[in-house]
């Protein structure tokens, strides 16, 4: 049986205590755990290390959904994904978000995995998410203990993939997150939580705790869609996801477009050219198609997930188009349904 290494386990009962425990520590010294569905496998395979683990499970007030009178929403970072996927009010206001969260991994894992955990999900790579023995056999990689990024050996950076489904969708919806540390707290627009680096993929400092996610009232007025490509109907991480939120003006023109791509970069990648091509235009077949074709340039699918990278790249436009068609209310085209949508 694959087992965890030993570590000191702390279970603080207040946020302040949790923040104090991790203050000034490096990730290899102390790691936070929420649902554990990411950390425990990483520790078992030894590609993450921890002398101590601080659990947030005992910290009060980090769970649940609060619907504010102004229409904005607050979600506690420790809320399990299954609770959110089945939340009636969330489903009524933000159906695409519920689709995205309900597509993460498998039903049983979603009972344990949390929203905050999914947002902080370690970047993934088929050279990295492997056992100690396997990684010894390739002399390790840049992201853990080694020097080379085997995905692109000439490259100075790590190309591990951001596989969170919540991140692109919440980014499109305009979410921001609260980060708390020993000294204080700050709020960040969600896209600013991430950076295009497989190793330092979060701008969050190691001693900060992501405690809540806030969605503005305007999120509910967007036309949103989430599409995801993966091999199987369940369990698998996305190898491409598309989250789109479009705000239309009174004449049906796109006032603002937010389109994010998941699993084709080390961060939730904004489909910049697509967004530009949409803004100010009416959502007809032609616009949608043209905007979708531009999305490929913002994706960098590499050979470190399931499926062939070139084909994944070709799928970017198809999936962006599918998501935009949903937003536009255009009829769905034939995409293999179990793979195409959650």
């Amino acid at each position: 049986m694959l087992r965890l290494p030993t570590f000191d386990y702390y279970r603080p009962t207040s946020l302040a205590e949790a923040a104090r425990l991790i203050a000034g520590q490096s990730p290899d010294q102390v790691r936070l755990v929420a649902g554990g569905t990411d950390l425990w496998p990483n520790l078992k395979r030894r590609h993450q290390k921890a002398e101590a683990v601080v659990s947030l499970a005992g910290v009060p007030d980090l769970r649940g959904v609060t619907c504010r009178p102004d229409g904005s929403l607050k979600i506690g970072a420790l809320t399990p994904l299954s609770e959110l996927a089945a939340h009636p009010e969330l489903g009524a206001r933000l159906p695409a978000l519920v689709v995205a969260l309900g597509s993460i991994s498998s039903p049983v894992l979603r009972n344990q995995g949390t929203l905050g955990g999914n947002l902080c999900l370690d970047t993934r790579c088929t050279y990295y998410n492997q056992s100690e023995e396997w990684r010894r056999a390739i002399s390790y990689c840049m992201k853990a203990e080694g020097e080379v990024c085997w995905v692109a050996p000439g490259s100075p950076r790590c190309w591990a993939v951001s596989s969170s489904d919540a991140a692109p969708m919440l980014s499109a919806l305009g979410a921001r997150v609260r980060l708390v540390c020993h000294e204080g707290e700050r709020w960040l627009p969600l896209p600013e939580l991430y950076q295009d680096d497989g190793m330092a993929y979060l701008t969050k400092r190691p001693d900060e705790i992501l405690t809540e996610i806030e969605l503005p009232a305007e999120a509910a007025s967007a036309r949103s869609a989430f599409w995801k490509l993966r091999r199987r109907g369940s369990i698998d991480f996305a190898v491409l996801s598309v989250a789109a939120s479009l705000w239309l003006d009174g004449e049906g023109r796109v006032e603002r477009a937010r389109v994010y791509l998941g699993a084709v970069a080390s961060f939730p990648a904004p489909a910049k050219a697509t967004m530009e091509a949409l803004e100010g235009r009416k959502l007809d077949e032609e616009t949608v198609k043209a905007a979708a074709e531009l999305a490929r340039r913002d994706a960098t699918p590499m050979d470190n997930t399931d499926f062939q990278p070139a084909w994944r790249g070709a799928m970017v436009a198809r999936y962006v188009e599918a998501a935009l068609r949903d937003c536009a209310g255009l009829p769905r085209q034939r995409l293999e349904p179990r793979l195409g949508q959650a």
Binding site: T37, R45, P107
Partner: protein, 178 residues
């Protein structure tokens, strides 16, 4: 100072348990190694197969990804607690009768996931059954017998005592006549 071992109290299938377990051990390890509850199996220990599913406070969880100390004070249910006295739970009976358990290794996890499903949704559609069990892998059955067994057990749990599985589930489809 955190301890290498922790004294844990939880209920296992309704019975109070107290065990001294290594703090870094998962519920899976503690159930199998400290509680002699080996009915719960494991296939990957990484949350990728669903084999080790147990119920904690009625919810299916992957026991390989739950630190045992997080089960403190909670109600843990495993396959050993399904039957009532010597009477099989309708899910167990249906799995046994239809051959939904072949090698039987994924069966405890399937049964526990199905139990939680039926508690929340006594009359699930075929699609809902498939969706609820989609995190549990089986390599033997092709899943059909499992879906049929859950449907049959659901009917019996709803009080349809005479509910029978479809004849096709036991004998196959009748050979079409030319």
């Amino acid at each position: 100072m955190p301890a290498e071992k922790t004294l844990l109290s939880f209920t296992l299938n309704g019975e109070a348990h107290q065990v001294l377990a290594p703090t870094h051990h998962t519920l899976l390890e503690v159930l199998r190694e400290e509680c002699a509850a080996t009915g719960t199996k494991h296939g990957c220990e990484l949350g990728e197969c669903g084999t080790c599913t147990v119920l904690v406070d009625g919810q299916p969880v992957l026991s390989c990804l739950l630190l045992a100390v997080e089960a403190e004070g909670r109600a843990v249910e495993t396959v050993e607690g399904l039957q009532l006295g010597n009477q099989l739970h309708p899910l167990q009976a249906a799995f046994a009768d239809l051959g939904a358990a072949q090698c039987g290794y994924c069966t405890p996890g399937m049964l526990m996931t199905a139990k939680a499903l039926l508690a929340a949704n006594p009359e699930p559609s075929t699609e809902e059954i498939r969706a609820a069990l989609a995190g549990n892998l089986c390599r033997c059955t092709g899943y059909h017998k499992i879906v049929q067994a859950v449907e049959w057990a659901a009917a019996r749990l709803r009080g349809e005592a005479t509910a029978e599985p479809p004849r096709e589930a036991l004998y196959g489809s009748p050979e079409p006549q030319r």
